[in-house]
Symmetry: C2
DNA sequence: CATGTTTAATTTGTCCGACATATTCCAAGT
DNA sequence: ACTTGGAATATGTCGGACAAATTAAACATG
């Protein structure tokens, strides 16, 4: 037997069922277990790792809750096709980006989602934002202005700005996608600047500030237009680091 | 003790841990356990229902996988704020609509999501659809044309049409939102026509066919425009059955 | 009285062993 | 070829025990 590769000592602070779910989730998103494949049988996992059936089963339930696994008595537990997962689940996004370079199709799809969602979200934000919402923007913009793009704090501020857009839209479904989308924003930009620092890309804080200014002015049309430009710029910036063929779809309106 | 209200005989086909997760998920989305509330302790559930701790714990892990619960040793298991759930999760959508009338804010938010997502998805579909994709549309349109709107089959066909849009967009993230969005489409329209049949609403199959025609013609701009009209019409139709104040946000481009 | 420390109580976390249940596989039997 | 009936195998459920973590209470100390 080749061994499953689960390091039982990796995260001593977490509960075991959580660590196992984390490990197995990574294995699945990174393709070690493909769609339709059976994952380790409970007794096999027990004998390989010495961890009890119960802890392993609880881990499997966590992934079943995300729609990634189906279990059938006697035939075992299998990975479901990817369209059953929720690819914007914060854990799935994290697993995808923390297990090495995510595939291009995934980064591209995330950008397309941002291009679909963020401009109308900015329009809603312009109509519904409260004064408290505006404070979120100001704080994020301040941090973006006075941090360097090579620092983590800049990327956190960038994520906070985009989170502020979704929060200010006051759409609860959009809010529930917030953690996933912001994780996607954070990882895509961090991935871009960390692995391929391009001295020519400048701090886009002024473009962000322009969106904020239209939201503060309660101008949905302007906010939508500037947000569209912002996402398009991010897409263009990423051109050098990934093999997108960007000729295809434009979401310009 | 008032009793938890879990009927241990309700679904003999399903495994117990699944039935419990289903029941508790319903309780949570319907507000019996509000955000931050503790759910029944493991030993309490055991003494109330006679079901073992293990089965109950596995059910809790399913909901934890959806981000709806957090557990801490000694302080118990609590419901997380709604922005941590994924409100487009197929189970969450189902629970929301099967437990009586969902709140207006939820239906409204789902319509807004459709208005954001479906027009650009139709544009992508126009650029990327395959011949096999077109067959999905034709089948759905045929059923919509020859079924009555009072039948379930019509609503299934309607959902299939919208599913075809998302499939044809060939964006994997969008595809992963498919089950949730289509469930939302199905339930919002079914909810509308079943609970408030309006003799004046006619079969919108021709509007659907017009979108299909633009997708088949590889015309992203036209597909987007007609899809926008389609979603706006659905929103308008629902005006009478819910208390939306539709004056607010428009997503017209 | 305020405050930090030790002790106890409570709830979830893990483990084990046993048996139940569902499904698949296979071997007879017709 | 088809059915039927068991054997094998994997997951599902159960009960009980103990571990670990966190909170709450009791206590000591300044």
């Amino acid at each position: 037997m080749v061994g499953l590769g689960f390091d039982t000592q990796a995260a001593p602070e977490k509960r075991k069922n959580e660590s196992i779910a984390d490990w197995l989730g990574r294995q699945i998103v990174s393709g070690v277990y493909a769609s339709g494949d059976p994952i380790p049988k409970e007794m096999d996992f027990l004998s390989e790792t010495g961890i009890s059936r119960g802890a392993y089963r609880e881990a499997l339930r966590r992934l079943a809750g995300k729609g990634m696994l189906v279990t059938r008595t006697r035939s075992g537990t299998r990975v479901t096709p990817r369209e059953n997962w929720s690819l914007l689940d914060p854990d799935v996004v994290r697993w995808s980006f923390e297990s090495g370079a995510p595939p291009d199709w995934y980064i591209r799809a995330l950008y397309e989602m941002r291009a679909m969602i963020e401009p109308p979200a900015a329009a809603f934000a312009a109509e519904r934002r409260s004064e408290a919402d505006l404070a979120l923007f100001r704080e994020a913009l301040h941090a973006m202005r006075y941090c360097d793009m090579t620092e983590d704090s800049w990327h956190n501020a960038d994520a906070s700005f985009h989170r502020a857009i979704l929060i200010s839209s006051h759409n609860p479904v959009l809010l529930s996608l917030q953690s996933g989308i912001c994780a996607a924003v954070a990882y895509t930009t961090a991935f871009r600047y960390r692995d391929m620092p391009n001295p020519h890309t400048r701090n886009p804080v002024e473009e962000h500030a322009a969106v904020f200014e239209r939201i503060a002015a309660r101008d949905p049309v302007g906010a939508r237009r500037l947000m569209t430009e912002l996402v398009d710029t991010a897409l263009l910036d990423s051109k050098g680091t990934t093999v997108f063929d960007l000729g295809l779809p434009t979401l310009k309106v």
